[in-house]
Symmetry: C2
Subunit: 414 residues, 2 copies
């Protein structure tokens, strides 16, 4: 957006890592290899800060090379190709099944990339792995749990170099097959496989929606899920490789994601124009309640002629709040808007071939299926808005389970 040119700096930019020490890095790699070789029950856990390290390719290589069972935190989605057979979905902590929790608790090694130990990202701190068995990867450091060798003496490492060295070493070693993720724990991929085809006239339910909509998402897409049911629903999304996922895992600021979507799409457009990013769509999932907080962002999208697809999950108010308190309270209702009139109200062009505006309403599965197959929507150029009617008391499974856990915790039962 900034159009004013500034003079080039007179000296080259110093992009070196302060305190970088290659000998230290090599020792670290050696130790990591040892830990990996010694491990019988390992797990890789991809967390919220991992994407910022710019080593998605190396992390995916590590997941493939080790064949370690791999999970993501809610904030860690979008780094690993979720179609890899050893990717098993989100570490759900207290919102997962007992088998899931028992398995996670029994790990003897967790390679934890970019930890974000916030309440929300860890289901009330229940998905934080045991520090004793955790190797926490940061951008310029690695903390090995269960040893006294945490102090680095002021030395930094390069996460990229470390991973590449580690991968090179691992490729030369024979390792026994890791303890697998338990069959009884159903991953989103399996859930989707087993899902019966919904009947056309059936209401769109949260459980099926997030699994089925996964087939609509393609590599290169930016997928944003607003806080609330959308954010929890995203735990069941099966994201292809090279997808960017933007989720609410710290502040849960209602209304943030619509404006963030505008920003993400603008960045995507400029990066694509500059050739620094592969093409893709920007796709937002947002509830009808959240949308009202920052609806003006639709105006910005139009003003900047951004290519955006917005799925409005209309469930008549603040469903996540109903689950927490006041299921039938009027303060959880919202004034019903005619959401699909937004493009027109905010001044979208009515007939500008280079900026198509498409709106769709789905009352049931049959209608949604037809919409998803619309060629324009698939392409995702212009402004696209799909309003999906959902049950007022329907919620994604991870949200239901977590709400139940919170109730138990508030009663002092856990």
């Amino acid at each position: 957006m900034v159009k004013t040119k500034v003079a080039e700096p007179s000296t080259p930019l110093d992009l070196s890592i302060p305190g970088y020490n290659e000998a230290f890095e090599d020792q670290l790699v050696h130790k990591l290899v040892g830990r990996i070789q010694d491990s019988k029950r390992p797990m890789i856990l991809i967390d919220a800060f991992a994407a910022g390290f710019c080593v998605n390719a190396e992390i995916n290589d590590l997941v493939r090379e080790t064949d370690f069972p791999t999970l993501a935190t809610p904030g860690g989605k979008g780094v690993v190709d979720e179609h890899l057979p050893n990717f098993h979905g989100v570490h759900l902590g207290s919102a997962g099944t007992s088998a899931h929790q028992a398995w996670a608790g029994a790990r003897d090694l967790v390679l934890h990339f970019g930890p974000l130990n916030s309440d929300t990202n860890t289901f009330g701190f229940t998905a934080i792995p045991n520090p004793q068995v955790t190797v926490a990867f940061e951008r310029h450091s690695v903390q090995i749990g269960g040893t006294d060798e945490i102090l680095t003496g002021g030395c930094s490492i390069s996460i990229k170099a470390t991973l590449n060295k580690l991968l090179a070493r691992l490729r030369t070693l024979r390792r026994s097959a890791p303890d697998p993720y338990p069959n009884e724990c159903q991953t989103p991929r399996e859930a989707l496989r087993k899902l019966p085809k919904p009947r056309d006239e059936s209401a769109v339910d949260q459980y099926s929606f997030w699994l089925l909509i996964s087939t609509y998402i393609k590599s290169g897409d930016i997928v944003l899920t607003e806080t609330g049911t959308a954010s929890y629903g995203s735990h069941s999304l099966i994201l292809p490789g090279e997808t960017v996922a933007i989720n609410s895992t710290i502040w849960l600021s209602i209304g943030y994601m619509l404006a963030a979507c505008q920003g993400a799409s603008l960045a995507q457009k400029e990066m694509c124009e500059a050739g620094t990013r592969r093409p893709g769509r920007t796709i937002l999932f947002v509830g009808d309640g959240s949308l009202q907080m920052s609806a003006q962002a639709v105006s910005d999208m139009i003003r900047n002629r951004l290519n955006v697809t917005i799925f409005i999950l209309n469930n008549n108010g603040y469903t996540i709040e109903r689950l927490i308190h006041g299921p039938n309270a009027t303060y959880n209702d919202v004034q019903p808007w005619r959401n699909l009139e937004a493009p027109s109200y905010f001044g979208a062009p009515k007939d500008e071939p280079s900026y198509p505006v498409r709106t769709f309403a789905a009352q049931n599965w049959g209608e949604l299926q037809k919409i998803i197959n619309n060629a324009g929507l698939k392409k995702g150029n212009g402004l696209n808005m799909v309003e999906v009617k959902m049950g007022v008391d329907d919620a994604p499974q991870s949200l239901r389970s977590f709400a139940e856990y919170l109730e138990m915790r508030n009663r002092g039962e856990v």
Copy 2:
């Protein structure tokens, strides 16, 4: 809005004024009478906190009884009946003519009710009267300038009792006619009288608009003017008695007034239902730029079925900002919305006889005149929206003059 009943307090509410001293109050009244009798060039100045004293009737009586030239600050409008012959409009300070400024500066007594000496309310502190000649009325105290008798010894007065005693005394006295407001200073009333009838096909200009729209305002109305051109335009409104004016005279928070309008209308509705307020309309004047900040308030109006009339002054962006900096800068443009689609987008009923929804667009004076005469709009029930097209570089006179003054001040010329 709060529907839960709480128990009555067990003891009567203590509504007495802390430190109230009637003997002190009587001495004060005596002094005030002396100051008024000694004055040759008096002025009454109604300011922003005066309305909160709940003595509008007494202040109007004082204005009538003394026949003193009376002005209001921008925040002080709505207290005095502006059709009284000795009401002369807003004390414009540096935004007024030299004759206006000279006259104001030559006062030997200023009865100043509820002072708010903010930058905005006083045109850059230029409309603050000389403290030496000022008698400042607060809710529970009066400060007499130019004397040493400022200290009250911890005594409080009742503004209502003080004014009533003062009025009783003044009615028994013969006083000479006060120095009048100069003929050469045109008041809004005179400007309206002299205004040629605009031609039907002429664009709606700011100068004429604020004078002519005054005839649409009736006693009992609540009139809100959003910061920007609307707020400055309100200086030229001629408000009948018992009008509430809500204006931006401190923070100028863009977007505030649309939401404030929702609140004012809700309060008006509940007070009318409770019989504690005379009937009237809620009327907002807001620019197209400001409207975008808090457009959601229209949704709240609909949700609460509030009776509101909104004049959208569409001048293609932030005209007040253009006057200050960047007349042609794109950051002063806004995405053009289809403003009159707001009621539909925000879910207004399409056919609910008890809550009519009316939208009107005026491109010129002829159209606006017809709209103003619409019976439904005159009544003001339901949701009413009038979009008035105005010139991008047109502005009320007080804003133009103040912007010129600020430029001079910034150049160090005043």
